[in-house]
């Protein structure tokens, strides 16, 4: 065992090729993640043909590093111009942008970087110590368990986002409604397509997200004063990391909680960084002493969600390595690469390829460590964006919105979709309907419906099938508990405000 670890460390850390690939793909990953519309999956898919000429370890190292960096880098445009680079960042986009408008962009990005790095390291350690055992968890999850898991993720979005429960819920439901457009995955029948072939593919959430967040901000910004006036994101000089490290030592237990949530969610195939991010944000809000800050510039929410989404990344490799079942689209590519290198995933990979697996663990740690300096450089580079006058920045953001929404599937239709969602975003903002929840509704609405219909179809229509397995019942109880506590607390709040009519009420 020790021998294997030593050998793995030697193979990894003494190989200049591994270092080159890790550093190169860290820069590439940061770049991909920071560009709106380009997902980590696309970055990895572009990288795959290169892996043909690489040894297995550098090839996997490149993918690991790229994904870790891309997930962090998605936070950079989220904070600076309110355009989430990845859906995982949508959970705290409003918080991050609010902080950035108060001139705290650098500190916020510092927090994101630090918590991403530490969360990622936590995930790597979990993978290392418990990977083989935790793989069994996937075997407990049938469609009914997933149904509750997705429902829990959606409920969390209602808790975290927005100014009031009904408004977040409305955003969520509208998002889910959009998710039903197109060919229904489970029935294989077209819905709401109005005979348009473009609508068959459904509403792609990447252009929708760019429109809801990015374009609506451009539209709003363009209508406002372009120079001075409204507070605009300003660049504060000063240290990036020290405040983050202070926060970390102050909130160590919260970090531990969030990273654990992230790692557990990550292990389940089909539940990735975005669910991790929302769930840990919601838990964080319920445990917080200042829940009113959430959605309004809460560093705590950002820290917890960042730790969770990075911690979930390593988890997705567990079902991929043990069962050959991809945990997300990136690990689907990883499985392909493994096969290409004649490494068959399966439980015996831990024995047959022990050294490689240990090297992979080391690479996970290495990737997160390399991310720290390169992320710092990226944050500094991001500072330049803040110096561009708003009147020049807005048109450039518009161009990036266009290209980013076009990039996902190379279709002009997605650009039109982005424009439409920009207007929807504007209307929602006017009535404070949570657009973050809408994005999650669009992502999880489809899977939720699939699991629901699959469970019912399997049981011949009996809704009991949703709760007649132990894990499903447990998840259902947790879900109902969450709803009950939310309902009680919002009822109390409304009682409170009803009794205090006539007194000045603080409203956001």
């Amino acid at each position: 065992m020790t021998e294997m670890i030593l050998q793995a460390a030697q193979q990894t850390l003494l190989d200049p090729m591994v270092w080159c690939v890790v550093i190169g793909s860290a820069i590439y990953g940061i770049f991909i993640g920071a560009m709106p519309g380009l997902s980590a999956t696309m970055g990895v898919a572009l990288f795959v043909p290169l892996t043909f000429w690489l040894d297995p370890l550098p090839a996997l190292a490149g993918i690991v590093t790229m994904v870790a960096c891309a997930i962090f880098a998605g936070d950079i445009p989220t904070t600076l111009v309110r355009m989430p680079g990845t859906p995982a960042s949508a959970a705290y986009a409003d918080d991050a942008y609010a902080l950035s408008r108060r001139g705290e962009a650098r500190t916020t990005l510092g927090v994101m970087l630090w918590f991403s790095v530490t969360g990622g390291l936590f995930g790597a350690v979990v993978l290392m110590l418990l990977g083989n055992q935790l793989a069994k968890m996937a075997g407990w999850f049938s469609v009914s368990e997933y149904f509750w898991l997705y429902l829990m993720g959606l409920s969390c979005a209602v808790i975290v986002g927005g100014s009031s429960i009904p408004r977040s819920l409305l955003g969520l439901l509208i998002g889910m409604m959009f998710s039903t457009v197109g060919l229904s995955a489970v029935h294989s029948q077209a819905r709401f397509t109005f005979g348009q072939p473009e609508l068959f593919q459904g509403i792609n959430f990447i252009p929708a997200m760019i429109g809801l967040f990015g374009l609506s901000e451009v539209l709003r910004g363009a209508a406002g004063r372009l120079n001075g006036g409204e507070p605009q994101p300003t660049e504060a000089s000063g240290a990036i990391l020290p405040p983050a490290i202070q926060l970390f030592s102050r909130r160590f237990r919260a970090w531990l909680r969030s990273s654990t949530i992230g790692a557990l969610v990550g292990i389940l195939p089909g539940a990735g960084a975005d669910i991790a991010s929302w769930v840990s944000g919601a838990v964080s809000k319920r445990r917080s002493k200042q829940p009113e800050n959430y959605g309004n510039g809460s560093t705590e929410c950002i820290a917890d969600a960042c730790a969770a989404n990075s911690a979930s990344l390593a988890g997705a490799w567990i079902p991929a390595l043990v069962f050959g079942i991809p945990g997300d689209s990136v690990t689907a590519i990883v499985i392909g690469v493994l096969y290409m290198k004649n490494l068959k995933p399966g439980p015996e990979i831990f024995e047959a390829q022990g050294v490689l697996v240990f090297s992979l663990y080391i690479v996970f740690i290495l990737a997160n460590l390399v991310m720290l300096p390169i992320g710092l450089l990226a944050i500094r580079a991001g500072g330049w964006v803040m110096r561009i006058p708003r009147s020049v920045l807005l048109p450039i953001i518009l161009l990036l919105c266009i290209v980013g929404s076009f990039a996902a599937s190379g279709s002009l239709f997605d650009v039109a979709l982005m424009a439409a969602f920009g207007l929807i975003g504007l209307v929602c903002e006017r009535y404070k309907i949570s657009i973050g929840a809408m994005v999650l509704g669009m992502i999880l609405g489809g899977p939720l419906e699939e699991r629901f219909v699959q469970t019912l179809a399997g049981s011949g229509g009996s809704p009991l099938a949703l709760v007649n397995r132990p894990v499903a019942a447990l998840l259902a109880i947790i879900c109902f508990g969450v709803w009950l506590s939310v309902a009680v607390s919002s009822f109390r709040k409304s009682r409170l405000s009803a009794t205090s009519i006539g007194l000045p009420i603080e409203r956001s």
Partner: protein, 469 residues
Amino acid sequence: MDANSFHHFSPRQRYRGRSHVSLNFGCWISITCVIVLSLGCTRSTDFPSRPIAIICPWSAGGGTDRVARQMAVELEAELGVPVNVINATGGGGVTGHTRGAQARGDGYTLSMITVELSMLHWRGLTNLTHRDFAPLQLLNRDAAALFVRGDSQYQSLDDLRDAIADAPKRLKASGTAYGGIWHIAVAGWLDSQSLAADDATWISINGAGPSIQELLAGGVDFICCSLPEADAVVAGGQVRCLGVMADSRIRGFEKVPTFIEQGHRWSIAGWRGLAAPSDTPKERIDLLGGAIDKITRGETFQSFMASSGFDMSLENAGQFAETLERQDELFGNILTQPAFQSVSGEQFGPMMFPIMIAVGIAIVSCLVAREVLSDYHDHGMENRQDTAGEEPFFPGRSLGVLFALVFYWFVSEPLGFILSAILILGGLLVLFRVPRVTAMVVAITASVVTYQVFAILLRVPLPRGFLEW
């Protein structure tokens, strides 16, 4: 050089504001731009002289995508122009196949076509058939195989068939969405055993991975997918393969018996191939076909296919066309059966979920409307004062942004990305009162840099326009 000319014009411009000079100035700029942009832009009539796109109807990372990307890399080396893969996913393959068939037949857009092409039109999802494509080469076939859990009581195909025959609709199966290739494989097998196609309840789960997981979790009794997809769990002993629906044993999986060996006369396979739109000129088809043929015979591609577990099965354009014809007939026979005509699980039809959500939206909207109204009551007056006193409000500029988007929609295809981007950026910057010289410099730099980054570095197929640039 162009930067100098801006400086020359700029001071006058600033002082005179909007006048006739600005028109001249605009003309000048546009002419300079066009000249600068067309420099070094050679329009050649040779084929191929610009990037080729391969449309993949399935998402990045899947089997089809991997084959497409490997093919793209090697085609690039063979033809000397960039070859990009576009994932036009969704709609069960309708989206990608439609885009591939409707693309301009100039040989610059190829498609990875998959077995779904022979199935979709029988299910009434599209009018597209294989006749909308000119086939180039069949690349591989993946035979269907049946899997049960390692601890399952079913030891052979006969066991499984008898169990299904004893209690129709009790056993649950999956592997893909309803009406997908693996579903049809199972239905066809049951049919060949004189059972009804829906005697095993099909649970519609997208993709082999989630289906395998469902099998492990005990949610379904057996699944159907290709051999490499379940290889890891078979090797680990969690899952057992009962047989493969092929005429002979598959290379790399020699231990797996075929259905025919077990006395079940049934074989079916998914396939992937390359094709171009049907109106592509013959000489370009021949040129592309030749290049693809050379690649598929090369060692790199063959070792890629072998190590990925894809069962390589090559057919040239002519043979591929015949195969497509036969496949169409085969799937027509299965999919027009009564078992497939009835909609699966009508009680949970496609509109159930949207209706549930619509009801939810209606209820929650009422709650939100109440909140909005009460906010208005509490703060209405203050808000109105706020907006009056605080900020200048220029809705015209937002309209300008929207107009820029509409403009881009119309001109990006004919003009190409760079020119349209320069026009909308320049227009907006001027609208936002940025000094014109800065506006021009920013517009040109930002557009060209964006193009370089996205189109060249990241391989996004941005529109190229009439300048072929």
